[in-house]
């Protein structure tokens, strides 16, 4: 045992949790269990991101699933210059952007977004009102262009800095700012009734 001779660690803690970087190296060398651990670790955040971007939990699951499969295929070339989470965030975003682009254009009034999962526990009247506002927002978001929607969701819901959005989407920071502005402009208009 290491503790028996020379300078060996005294700590006898449980096996250290494997960091992403380590799991990524293993998965890149063909360890599917390491990849499975990465999937479990990152799926919740990515599912939430995709649901925000697409407005539909079902489509979000498909997008995230495809993103993970494509990540498995690309892992041997992944050099680890970005963190795995950042890399996945980018793959999912671009996947969702493609999904949005392939949707037939809808007007805000036609779109009926899928209801979000759990109900909140507040007083019924206020809850109902707030709920209606959120529903109106979801509907209004459907009226944004795919590019506006992606930029706005990343900025306002995911809190991503402008420069990172620019990198993810592959456009200039100015273009991102322009899209976020136009999305805000459109949405404030749509939500004017709730002021």
């Amino acid at each position: 045992m290491p503790g028996d001779r020379g300078r060996a660690p005294e700590e006898t803690d449980a096996p250290l949790p494997h960091e992403d970087a380590l799991l990524v190296v293993r998965a890149a060398e063909g360890d599917d269990e390491a990849f499975e651990a990465l999937v479990h670790r990152h799926a919740p955040v990515l599912l939430r991101l995709a649901t925000r971007l697409l407005g539909s939990p079902t489509e979000a699951e498909d997008a995230v699933q495809e993103a993970f499969v494509s990540a498995w295929r690309k892992l041997p070339e992944f050099r680890g210059d970005a963190r795995f989470g950042t890399w996945m965030h980018r793959i999912v975003t671009n996947r969702c952007l493609n999904v949005l682009r392939s949707r037939p254009p809808v007007t805000a009034l036609d779109s009926v977004p899928e209801p979000q999962a759990p109900e909140h526990q507040v007083s019924p009247a206020r809850a109902a009102e707030a709920h209606a506002a959120v529903r109106d927002l979801s509907r209004a978001i459907e009226g944004l262009s795919p590019e506006q929607r992606v930029c706005w969701v990343l900025r306002e819901l995911d809190g991503v800095p402008y420069e990172s959005i620019a990198e993810t989407v592959g456009i200039s920071q100015e273009a991102v700012r322009g899209r976020v502005f136009r999305a805000r402009r459109y949405l404030t208009e749509a939500m004017a009734g709730w002021r």
Binding site: P2, R5, G6, R7, A8, P9, E11, L16, A21, L22, V25, R26, E29, G30, D31, D32, E33, F35, E36, V39, H40, A43, P44, L47, R48, R52, E61, Q65, V69, W72, R73, P105, T107, A108, L109, Q116, A117, H120, V134, L137, S138, G143, L144, Q148, E156, L157, R177, G178, F181, R184, R185, Y186, L187, T188, E189, A190, M191, A192, W194, R195
Partner: protein, 257 residues
Amino acid sequence: MAMNEGGTPGGAAFGDVPDEETLPCGRELAQVWEQAETGEPDPHTADCPHCAEALRALRTLEGVVARARADEPQERQWDTAALAGRVMDVVRLELRPGRTLALGEPDEDAWIVEAAAARTFRAAVDALPGVRAGSCRIETAVVNAASGASAPPAGRLPRGPARVRIEVQVGLSWNLQLVADEVRGRIVEAADGELGMRVAAVDVVVADLLDEDEEDREDQEDQEDQEDQEDQEDQEDQEDREDREAEEADEVEGGQR
């Protein structure tokens, strides 16, 4: 107010808003909002009714956005088991087993794929406290050409003892020479006890030190320098070989498509 001139939200085309919009007070709406976002103070905005109205509109939107976020399920509530299952079903049809390595004696026709052997070695190394295994590549140590061994089946490495190269992350409290020995020991033990693979050499590369304990650090770095020098020659040799293998691997992959 100016904001209501831009068309109704139900308007036909999406993105149907102007790129720029000037408020009656002369300020650009985009600029007013960005200042609000960055928290930059602006004496004009504080007093201007037009700017105040524009900001109220933004705050209303932000309020509903905050509400929408609060309504989202918490991270841990997302059910990802089914999703992970579907992902792994596809992954397992597209495994990357790596090279095929010999098990047992030269006259046996028993083999194991590199990915499976590497996983066994990593697990054995991970069992050491404060040590984590990363990259693990296995190949056949150079076999004496005069030994008359028959050529391996296509795509398989020659039958012969293996050479293992493993990268480890190591807690700072370890003596690096000692940990390298321990890692070698675990691998040789696992190779014999769990696989039945003959191993000729184990190259241990300390890829990373865990923790930031300054006092220990200096000590450790001395050790590391020595280790680095020792590994240097091995590694150059190693890299040559890896290059050759990378080419071979490309060919194999090309053949699969």
